[in-house]
Amino acid sequence: MFLINCPYCGERDQQEFKAGGEAHIERPKEPTELSDDEWAEYLFMRKNIKGVQFERWNHTHGCRKWFNMIRDTSNDEIKAIYKMGEKPPSQ
């Protein structure tokens, strides 16, 4: 059970949060210009890395804000947490 440092609320128990999949996948600005393959790449393809992964999390039972997390999926070490729209901190 992680202890997650919400950038808006501070440290809270994992059960207040929901994971929202891989981070930094931007919705294409002009979807109609994309081929089926390109659209499918955005829609379906996720890395699911064993190791350092960039993820989105939502403080669902708190401030309801989305934020980003860098987590090592092999040992669940949370390396960094930063707000939406911010650049990932260098590690």
């Binding site: 059970m1 992680f2 202890l3 109609t32 669902t60 804000k65």
Partner: protein, 1001 residues
């Protein structure tokens, strides 16, 4: 006659407090302070159970939570009964009853014991192999296996006890209150760390508290006396909370630990009532100090499982702590010095010790010399090759061990005895450590796994970190505490320790026998009856991974998780396969460390607190009027309102007719409501719905369909424009929370530039839906000043008005196809509004209807219910709702996916109507649809999603999804059922009032 085997008065046993208890129906006596195990041993009862597979007689092996054999059913037959409880952990109380498990008809005569004779036919993997045999074989074995499998009986009535959960935050959690844990907790708390010390036992002090080795001294005192003083001092320390009878079950990441605190299990039944029985502590600790100690290992030899064969350390604890002699003629079998302490403990109390069999050549320690001086016979370089006695050990056979330890030679000596204490060395209890994700390494010299790589904020101290000697423990503990807690001085700086302990040990994982292995039963996992032979068989059959061997042989898979035998299993695999133990790794220790009751896990969340129920403001009215309810998400919704003993069908037919012929009233409060405000609200709706929103006039309503990015229908509902920058969106009842979450996600992450604010107002409003040709007349009566003409208040529009003093929002929208109005008021006025409508509607026979009638009425109109007629694989095109998909909008969520080759396939499942050829036959929802009979296998074209008997059409109607259904209008299909085939015809899904004339009736 049972004789009392008390040998000394122990300060932990209150001999003035005599307690009677029953075991297997027979009454025995013990004293306050006894465990069930110590009390039974005092009554000379060793045989307490039967093993799982072979039903071999088994006795008490240990004195702690690692017990594999003495597993009992507590208070059998009562509503407080609990199976699979370790007799070594049960504190006795007046009136306690316990019984053996896994035996029938009783533990003395057990029919399953025949398995022991059949054992050549029950090798490792027996169950797996049986499952792979033909099914006909399995049927024959099933009866046999079902009756011999299973540990204990679950209670059949509800648990009368109360359970609780508590969150604890502390700076330092110390797990284990042996000498290391006590000293760690004391020094942490003294240095201003908020400290919690927990131990599974009812007394602090671990094994040091009854340590009797006269050659060990701390500050010139016996370690037990010294520790008692330390414990006494704990009482005066602030910042320190101590919880005994508290077992840490799980150690999760980020120092989140779960512990079970036992509060009433040791009390008499009359004192248990209305108290919290067990409490789950959810501990979040900044720092964790593991002082979990170590477990003694047995030795693995032929027939090492008879009642009377115990761990040497247990024999010592029963003698020193409980004052009980486990046998009158005792033998010890050892590979290290610790058995000598146990032997002396008995000898000093005048209890006969026949011999010590030591697989080592010699030992130089003072304690060994003392044993020799006391006249106890020692067999150096000998091993036990067999034991005898069915329900109780009566002798052991001893032979000389070869120099390399792989065989035995010479004459077989038989030594008569009724208790054998076995000492195979000490295994650090690293279970919690590995649960936390931290990694072990194998210490070749000590032949044990030790903590190596900490992944959490933690340290291990004492014997769980490989420090077994008191001087090592204190010196290393002192250093570790200073480092870890960043403190300069501790109580231990001036502590002087004298010791006589030798670490000399000879490890032979599987001891040799004079018989071939196949003819022996050297048990490795007592609870699951896995022997060394089974492990070797698994290796011969090609299993290599320790995890596979474990599952195939079931080694370590009992309720004790193989706490005693896991190391031997590893050792035997390593020896047989010729690899190093360190390379082999260990199996995974999973939570809980000891079993938890379901009560502890669920805590207060039982009965009506099991799940949250949401009730509408009109709920009391529905209850008073005998509504039946259905669960929709967490909501309790009125389902139908039977009168005069109506069946559900009769009630729904009546309600449906009334709603179309005169007036119906529905509690629609559960629909999700999201308040949307901001200067970009219209643009936002354009992006999230498939249709266009910019041109919706203020005061108008529009139906919207929301897709996922993959083009599949996600939710639907009517949204009303309340002002220039203000909308109220309604969602499906079940989808409300998810829709809000999804919209927030897009707003925060994809379109942060939009000026839009979302607020869930589902609970803020109560909604009454008036429906039917007389609904306008009823509304007129309660809002006499409102102009309800079609010109002023047309279909799909909105008015804000007052009913009496109550402000309300009225939408003229319809989910039934009838003229209808949805009146929204502040939730607290909901019931009042409902009653007003009922009163006003009396003259029109206004009929309350529930969700079932609502579903029927909308099905007559061919309106979908997201989640019933769709399942996350239906596009709007599949639903034949092309009309709602804007061709003009450049983009909206899911738009691009509607042009993927897959979503454009002609042969996708599409929504159609189905009419049965016999109008009285109602299809079953979920029934499959085919185009031909008499063919096998036959292609399933789709399935029925909604089906009702329509009282307004006087025939059966259904909605279905059918592959390529759009082009099948009028086609004959079949719905094959168990006993008959139903002929159906594909039809337009709008069955009723296709021209929508009734909206303005």
């Amino acid at each position: 006659m049972t004789k009392n085997l008390r040998v000394k008065s122990s300060e932990y046993i209150d001999e003035t407090n005599r307690i009677s208890f029953k075991f297997n129906g027979k009454t025995y006596h013990g004293f306050k302070g006894d465990t069930l195990a110590s009390a039974l041993l005092a009554n000379n009862v060793h045989l307490v159970g039967r093993s799982f597979k072979y039903h071999r007689p088994r006795g008490i092996m240990t004195s702690g939570s690692e017990e594999p054999n003495a597993i009992v059913q507590i208070n059998p037959g009562s509503n407080r009964t609990e199976p699979n409880v370790r007799a070594t952990e049960v504190e006795i109380y007046e009136g306690l009853e316990a019984s053996s498990q896994n035996c029938w008809p009783n533990v003395e005569f057990d029919i399953g014991g025949i398995n022991n004779i059949l054992s050549p036919f029950l090798p490792a993997g027996f169950y797996y192999k049986t499952f792979m045999w033909p099914a006909s074989f399995w049927e024959k074995y099933e009866f046999f296996i079902r009756h011999s499998a299973g540990l204990g009986k679950s209670p059949t009535s509800s648990d009368p006890d109360i359970y609780d959960h508590r969150n604890i935050h502390c700076d330092v959690l110390v797990v284990g209150a042996g000498i290391s844990g006590i000293l760690a907790a004391k020094n942490a708390a003294k240095n201003n760390f908020k400290t919690l010390l927990v131990d599974e036992k009812n007394e602090l002090g671990g094994s040091t508290i009854y340590e009797n080795n006269e050659f060990n001294k701390i500050d010139k005192n016996a370690p037990s006396e010294w520790l008692k003083k330390e414990i006494e001092e704990l009482k005066n320390i602030k910042n320190l909370e101590i919880k005994t009878r508290t077992s840490v079950a799980a150690y999760h990441q980020y120092n989140y630990l779960l512990a079970r605190e036992n509060l009433t299990d040791h009390l008499e039944i009359k004192d248990k009532t209305n108290k919290i029985r067990q409490r789950l502590l959810k501990i979040r600790a900044r720092k964790v100090i593991l002082a979990t100690g170590s477990l003694e290992r047995p030795l693995i030899f032929d027939n090492n499982d008879r009642p009377g064969i115990m761990l040497s350390s247990a024999v010592k604890k029963y003698s020193e702590f409980y004052g009980v002699a486990c046998g009158s003629k005792n033998v010890f079998f050892t590979n290290n010095d610790s058995a000598y302490e146990s032997a002396l403990s008995l000898h000093n109390k005048g209890i006969n010790v026949e011999a010590i069999i030591d697989i080592r050549n010699q030992s130089e320690s003072k304690i060994v010399k003392k044993v020799i001086e006391s006249g106890i016979k020692i067999y150096w370089s000998h091993s036990i090759v067999d034991t005898d006695g069915y329900k109780r050990l009566n002798s052991v056979s001893v032979m000389k061990l070869s120099n390399d330890g792989t065989s035995v030679t010479g004459n077989k000596i038989s030594i008569s005895c009724n208790c054998l204490g076995v000492a195979g060395g000490w295994t650090p209890a690293v279970h919690l450590y590995t649960q936390s994700g931290s990694k072990l390494k194998f210490d070749e010299e000590k032949q044990i796994f030790l903590p190596n790589q900490n992944t959490s904020e933690q340290i291990s101290v004492g014997s769980c970190d490989g420090d077994f000697k008191i001087d090592e423990i204190i010196t290393n503990l002192n250093k570790k505490l200073k480092d870890y807690l960043n403190i300069n001085e501790t109580d231990l700086d001036n502590t002087k320790v004298e010791i006589d302990q030798e670490n000399s040990k000879r490890n032979i994982w599987l001891l040799p026998s004079d018989k071939p292995l196949g003819k022996t039963k050297p048990f490795v996992d007592y609870q699951n009856d896995a022997t060394a032979k089974d492990i070797k068989l698994a290796l011969r059959e090609g299993f290599r991974s320790i995890e596979h061997v474990k599952r195939y042989t079931t080694t370590g898979m009992g309720t004790d998780q193989g706490k005693l035998g896991n190391m031997h299993a590893l050792g035997i695999i390593a020896d047989t396969a010729g690899v190093k133990m360190g390379e082999l790794g260990t199996t995974t220790f999973r939570p809980p460390y000891t079993p938890l009751t379901f009560g502890t896990i669920v805590g207060r969340n039982v009965g009506k607190f099991f799940d949250i129920f949401r009730r509408t403001p009109m709920n009391d009215w529905h209850v008073e009027n005998k509504a039946e309810f259905e669960n929709v998400g967490q909501w309790k919704r009125a389902w139908y309102y039977p009168i005069n003993g109506e069946t559900m069908h009769q009630a729904v037919q009546r309600e449906s007719k009334a709603a179309r012929e005169s007036a119906g009233i529905l509690d629609a409060s559960t629909l999700g409501k999201i308040d949307i405000q901001g200067s970009d609200a219209s643009e936002f709706l354009n992006r999230v719905y498939t249709n266009a929103w910019s041109k919706l006039a203020i005061g108008k309503c529009r139906y919207g369909l929301m897709l996922n990015e993959d083009g599949m229908v996600y939710d639907d509902g009517v949204t009303t424009r309340l002002g220039e920058n203000h909308y109220i969106m309604s969602t499906t009842t079940g989808g409300a929370a998810n829709v809000l979450g999804k919209l927030e996600d897009y707003l925060q992450t994809e379109w942060p530039e939009l000026d839009v604010y979302l607020t869930s107002v589902t609970d803020h409003y109560a909604t009454v839906s008036l429906c039917g040709p007389n609904s306008k007349k009823i509304l007129k009566k309660i809002t006499p000043d409102l102009d309800l003409s079609d010109e002023n208040f047309p279909h799909m529009s909105f008015k804000e008005t007052n009913i009496g003093n109550i402000q309300c929002r009225i939408m003229r929208i319809s989910f039934t196809g009838e003229l209808s109005f949805e009146i929204n008021v502040q939730a607290s006025y909901g019931k009042d509004l409902w009653e007003k409508c009922m009163e006003a509607g009396k003259e029109f026979n206004i009929t309350p209807y529930g969700t079932e009638t609502m579903h029927l009425l909308r099905a007559e109109k061919g309106f979908i219910i997201v989640g019933q007629d769709t399942d996350g694989t239906m596009t709007p095109i599949d639903l034949q709702m092309d009309w709602i998909v804007s061709k003009k909008k450049y983009d909206f969520i899911g738009k691009r996916s509607l042009y993927r080759s897959d979503t454009m396939r002609e042969d996708r499942k599409q929504l159609v109507g189905l009419l049965t050829d016999d109008p009285n036959v109602v299809l079953e929802e979920g029934a499959q649809i085919v185009s031909e009979l008499n063919k096998s296998p036959v292609e399933m074209l789709g399935h029925v999603t909604s089906s009702y008997f329509s009282p307004n059409l006087n025939k059966s109607i259904a909605l279905a999804v059918v592959r390529g259904g759009k082009d099948m209008m009028g086609k004959k299909l079949f719905v094959p059922m168990e006993n008959k085939n139903i002929n159906v015809t594909v039809a337009n899904p709008v069955f009723y009032d296709a021209k929508n004339e009734r909206l303005n009736a």
